[in-house]
Amino acid sequence: MHNTFIARNPSVLWFLAALGLFTFGVTILSEATGLGLISTSFVKTLGKTLCLCLIAIAMDVVWGYCGILSLGHFAFFGIGGYAIGMWLMYARTEAIVLQNFSAQTIPATPQEISDAIGNQIFGVVGSSDFPAIWSFADSLVLQLAMVVLIPGLLALVFGWLAFRSRVTGVYLSILTQAMTLALSLYLFQNDSGLRGNNGLSGLQNIPGFEQTPQATISIVFFLASAFALGAGYLFFAWVISGKMGSVVQGIRDNEARVRFLGYHVESYKLFIFTITAVVSGIAGALYYPQAGIINPGEIAPIASIYLAVWVAIGGRGRLYGAVIGAAFVSLLSSWFTGGGAPDINLGFYTIQWTDWWLVLLGLSFVVVTLYFPKGIGGLFDYLVRKPS
C-alpha cells in the first residue's frame, strides 16, 4: 500500500526532499548556528510563510479538490492562533506576576495571583475579571486541544448546517465569508473576552524559555512549521489519493452525478471541510507565536480571500501548487510592501511599490485567472510530460 501510494504520487517525494533541503539550508545559515547569514527576523518570516503554505494546502484540498470555495478558512487559522495565544499570554503574565509577588514578605494567595493576572491582561479593555473562555488558559494541554477542537467543532457545525441544506457554489462562498466577518466583528468588541481590537500580544515570548535567545526560538518554530508542513502535505496527499480522493474530486466535477452513484456527498464534504479547518487551526497556532501578535483584523474576510488568491496563483488541484503560490505571493508581497523593490522613475511620476503593489497584484490576479487557470504549478506539467 505504502509503495503504491508513493509510486502514484512522485511529487510527494520531490516535495519532501525539497522541503528538507530548504529547512536544512536555513537552519545551517541562521544566527542560531553561528553562521548568521540569515537574520532572525527573516527566519521568522520564513517560518510564518511555511505556516501560510500549510493553510494554503488545506485551502487547496477544500477548494481545488473538493470544489468548495471557502472564504472563511482564515477564521479557523485565527482561532488556532487565539487558542495558543491565550495560554502564551496567561502563562507569561503569570510568571511576571509571581516574580512581583516573590519580592514581598507575605506569600500571595491563589486569589491574589489570579486577580493580578486578570488586571495585567484585561486592564487594557477596562476590566480585570477572567471571562469564562479563559477557564483553561492555565493549561497548555487543554489550550492545545482547543487549537484542534474549536476549529473542528465550528467547521463541523457550520458545514453540517450548510451542506445539509445543499448550499453550494457562490452561496456557500458568501456564507463562509459571512461567518468569518461575524467572528471578526465579535472579537472586535471589548467584552468579547479576548481584549477587543488590542488582540493578544507578546506571543513571541515563550513561557519557561525567557532566557533562550529569540534566534534559537525562531529556528525551533521554523523547524516545527516545516515539520507540520511536511506532515500536512503527506496527510493530504494520502487523503486525496485512493478511492476517497476520487470521490472527492468527483464531487468537485459533478456533485449530482456522484450523489446519484450512491455516495453520501454531504459526509465527504463535511469530512474535507472539517479536516482542513483543523489543519488551518494548527497552522495558526504555529504562525502567531512567530508573528508575536494577533488581533481581530487578522481574520477579516479579506485575509481568506487572499488565501484563495495564493492557491489560484500557485495552481489549484495540486498540493505543491498551493505551497508555491502561498510562498511566492506572500514573500513577494513582503518584499514589495517592505520597500525592498526599487522605485521606478518615469520622469513625470515615480512609481512607489508600497503604493502600487496591490494594483499590480490585483491585475496580475485577473491575468492569471483569465489566461493561466492552472497557475504557476501548471508550468511543471511542461517538465513532467511534454505537451503533445
Binding site: I174, A178, L185, Y186, G362, T369, L370
Partner: protein, 641 residues
C-alpha cells in the same frame, strides 16, 4: 419670599417713591447700583419694578449692556455712549441729551451673575414687549432657567398676547412653571396632569425634577415623603458603602487591608503565631488576623457576617425632594403615562430608522441584484463601483461650488462613469468567465483590490467630504422623539425610484424582455435574433451604473473613503441572497429584513453596533439554512441553476 419682598417694597414705594423719579430711587440705592452683588441686588430691582415707571426697562437693559455711567462728583447716573473722549449723556428720566468729557464719569460694569438677575427682572417687561421676537426670546430664556418669580408676570402677560404661536408657548410654559412653583397644591396637580398629555423633553424634565429623589439611610424610617424603600441585601456592597459614608458602619476589611496588617506585624518571621510562608491561603490569613485582633494590635475583622448585621439593622430608602406626597403621586402617574407615549413614539422612530437603513441597503444591493441576481455574475468589485460613484460626486463638488447643481450633475455622471467601467470590465474579463462563476469571483476580487489601491493612490487615505446641499440639511422633526434627517428621506425616495425604474426596465421595455430571455436561455434567445453579448454587456453596465448612483447617495451621509465599498459588499451580497436571487422584489424584502433586524437588535443593545452586526450575520447564516433560496424563491424551471 420674593413676592413677599416685592409686596413690602411696593408698599414702601407707595409711600415714598410714588412721586419720585427713577434717578431719586437710584440715588437712594447708589452704592448697590454702582457696585451690585448678585445676592443683594434683588430687592433694589424689585423696588424699581414696583415704581411702574416706563423708563425702568430701558434703564435695566442699558445697565445690563454696560451703558450706564455715573458722574463721579455728583453721583448722578446717566445712560451714555462713548465716542473718543466724550460721552453723549442721556438723562435717565427726561431723556434730555448732553455731552461731557469722559474723565469725570465712571462706567458701571455689572458682573455676569448680576446681569442674569437683571435679565430675570427684565423678562416681565419683555413678555409684554410689542416686538414678537423679543417676546419669543423672553419665553426661551424662561424655558432655559425656570424660576418661581417668573410665573406671575407670565400669567399676567397671557391676556394681552395676540400671537397664537406665542400664546400657545406661554400657556405651555405656565403649565410647566405651575407644576413646579404654583402656590396651591391643587394648581400644581392640575398642571402636572396637563403635562401627562405631552411627550416633549421639557415636560418630561419637569416631571423628573419634581420626582427627584435623594438616597438616605437611617436606623428607623423617617417621617418624610419616601419614594422607595429597598432591601438592604439586594446590593449589599453598595448599601454598606452608603452606611460607611453616613458613619453608621465600619468599612469592610479588604484582602488588601489584611495583607497590609500581616506585613505590618511580622515578628520573627511569624504573624500571630503563623509562619509567613504559610500565609498563602485566605484561611491561614484569617486565622492570623484573628490572633492579631484578639491581641488588640489590629481593629477587629469586618467580614461578610458583620456587614450583613449592619445592613439588617438599618433601613435604606429614597426620599423625594418634594415634600407633598399628593404631588409626587400625581407626577409619578403623569410620568408613567408620558413614558408609555414616549415608548410608542420610540417604536415609530425605530421603524423609521429601520426603513431608512433598509433603503440604504437596497440602494447598495439593487445593482448587485441585477448583475448577481439576474445574470448570476459575482462581482466583488461592486463595492468599488459604489466608491467610484462617491468619488465622482466629490470631484464634481471640487469644480461646481453650488452643491445642488453639483449633486444634479454628479448623479448622471456617476452613472455614466460606472456604466462605462462596468461595460469595460464585462468586455475584458467577465465575458471570458461566464461558465466559471467561482473564478469570476476571484478575478473581480483582483479588480476590486486594484481599484481600491488606485483610489488610495489618487485621493489619499483620509476621508473626503461629499457635502449635501443646504436644503437637505437638518431633520424632519415630528415630535421630540420622532425625527428623521432629510438626507435619509431623500435616500428612501431614491430607493423607491430605482425600484420602480428597475421593475419598469425589466418588465416593460424591450431591453428588459431581452435580458430576461438571455438569462433564461441564451441559446434560444440568440436564435430569436437577440445578441446575448450585447445584452449581457448592457445589463452589467446598468447594474454597475446604479452602483455609481448609490455611491453618490451613500457618500452624502457617510464619509467617502477608498474602503467604503468594502464596507457594503458583504452586506449587499447577503441582502441579495437573503431576498432571493433573480428577483428585484426579493432584494427589497432582503433589504427590509436586514435593515429592520439590525435596528431591532441595536434597540436591545444600543451601545454595541458591532454585536448587532455579529448577531445579524449569525441570523442570516441560520436563515439561509432554512430558506436556501431566499425569501422570494423562484419556482419551477426558472429556479434551476
Amino acid at each position: 419670599m420674593r413676592i413677599l419682598l416685592s409686596a413690602i417694597a411696593f408698599a414702601l414705594c407707595a409711600m415714598t417713591a410714588q412721586a419720585q423719579d427713577l434717578q431719586t430711587l437710584l440715588q437712594d440705592n447708589a452704592a448697590q447700583i454702582a457696585k451690585p452683588s448678585r445676592n443683594a441686588i434683588g430687592p433694589v430691582l424689585d423696588d424699581m419694578v414696583a415704581t411702574g415707571l416706563p423708563q425702568v426697562p430701558t434703564f435695566l437693559e442699558q445697565w445690563s449692556d454696560k451703558n450706564v455711567w455715573q458722574n463721579e462728583d455728583t453721583g448722578t447716573f446717566f445712560i451714555a455712549t462713548k465716542t473718543g473722549d466724550t460721552l453723549t449723556l442721556t438723562d435717565i428720566d427726561t431723556g434730555a441729551q448732553s455731552t461731557a468729557p469722559a474723565d469725570g464719569f465712571k462706567q458701571l460694569k455689572p458682573n455676569g451673575g448680576v446681569r442674569r438677575v437683571i435679565g430675570t427682572a427684565l423678562v416681565q417687561f419683555q413678555l409684554i414687549d410689542p416686538d414678537t421676537t423679543r417676546r419669543a426670546a423672553a419665553l426661551e430664556s424662561i424655558a432655559r432657567r425656570p424660576e418661581a418669580a417668573q410665573l406671575a408676570p407670565l400669567m399676567a402677560s397671557l391676556d394681552g398676547e395676540d400671537d397664537p404661536a406665542l400664546r400657545a408657548r406661554k400657556e405651555n410654559l405656565i403649565t410647566i412653571l405651575s407644576a413646579r412653583f404654583a402656590e396651591d397644591p391643587a394648581d400644581r396637580i392640575a398642571a402636572i396632569e396637563a403635562l401627562a398629555e405631552e411627550t416633549s423633553v421639557e415636560s418630561r424634565a419637569v416631571l423628573n425634577q419634581i420626582l427627584a429623589t435623594k438616597p438616605g439611610v437611617a436606623t428607623t424610617l423617617p417621617d418624610a415623603n419616601i419614594a422607595t424603600q429597598y432591601d438592604p441585601m439586594a446590593d449589599p456592597d453598595a448599601n454598606h458603602a452608603a452606611l460607611v459614608t453616613a458613619d453608621l458602619a465600619t468599612p469592610l476589611t479588604t484582602p488588601d487591608d489584611i495583607r497590609a496588617a500581616m506585613e505590618a506585624h511580622i515578628i520573627d518571621g511569624r504573624v500571630g503565631n503563623t509562619p509567613t510562608a504559610q500565609l498563602n491561603t485566605d484561611a491561614a490569613r484569617a486565622t492570623a488576623y484573628a490572633t492579631l485582633a484578639a491581641a488588640g494590635t489590629v481593629p477587629p475583622l469586618i467580614g461578610i457576617p458583620e456587614r450583613d448585621n449592619a445592613l439588617q439593622s438599618h433601613v435604606f430608602f429614597d426620599t423625594y425632594t418634594e415634600d407633598d406626597p399628593a404631588i409626587t403621586t400625581a407626577a409619578r402617574a403623569a410620568l408613567d403615562q408620558v413614558e408609555t407615549a414616549v415608548a410608542l413614539a420610540q417604536t415609530v422612530d425605530l421603524g423609521l430608522d429601520a426603513l431608512s437603513l433598509a433603503s440604504i441597503y437596497f440602494l447598495a444591493a439593487i445593482g448587485l441584484a441585477i448583475t448577481f441576481g439576474v445574470m448570476g455574475v459575482i462581482n466583488m468589485a461592486h463595492g468599488e463601483f459604489i466608491m467610484m460613484g462617491a468619488y465622482t460626486g466629490y470631484v464634481i463638488q471640487l469644480f461646481v461650488p453650488d452643491y445642488t447643481i453639483a449633486i444634479l450633475i454628479a448623479l448622471p455622471t456617476a452613472f455614466a462613469i460606472t456604466f462605462a467601467a462596468g461595460v469595460t470590465m464585462e468586455r475584458l474579463v467577465i465575458r471570458h468567465l461566464y461558465h466559471r462563476p467561482l473564478e469570476t469571483l476571484l478575478a473581480t476580487f483582483g479588480i476590486s483590490i486594484a481599484l481600491q489601491q488606485l483610489a488610495k493612490n489618487i485621493f489619499g487615505t483620509q476621508a473626503r467630504p461629499l457635502t449635501s446641499p443646504a436644503w437637505l440639511d437638518g431633520a424632519w422633526v415630528i415630535s421630540d422623539v420622532i425625527q428623521i434627517s432629510y438626507i435619509r428621506i431623500a435616500i428612501f425616495f431614491l430607493a423607491l425610484f430605482f425600484l420602480a425604474l428597475i421593475l419598469f426596465i425589466l418588465k416593460r421595455t424591450r431591453l428588459g424582455l431581452e435580458v430576461r430571455a438571455v438569462t433564461q436561455n441564451p441559446g434560444m434567445a440568440a436564435s430569436m435574433g437577440i445578441n446575448p453579448d450585447r445584452i449581457n454587456m448592457l445589463t452589467f453596465g446598468l447594474g454597475s451604473g446604479i452602483a455609481g448612483i448609490a455611491g453618490v447617495a451613500i457618500g452624502l451621509y457617510a464619509k467617502v473613503t477608498s474602503e467604503m465599498g468594502a464596507d457594503y459588499i458583504v452586506q449587499s451580497f447577503m441582502t441579495v441572497v437573503v431576498g432571493g436571487v433573480g428577483n428585484v422584489w426579493g432584494t427589497l424584502a432582503g433589504a427590509s429584513l436586514i435593515g429592520g433586524l439590525q435596528k431591532g437588535i441595536e434597540w436591545f443593545n444600543p451601545s454595541n453596533t458591532l454585536a448587532a452586526q455579529t448577531y445579524m450575520i449569525l441570523f442570516i447564516i441560520l436563515f439561509i439554512q432554512f430558506r436556501p433560496k431566499g425569501i422570494v424563491a423562484l419556482k419551477g424551471r426558472a429556479a434551476a441553476d
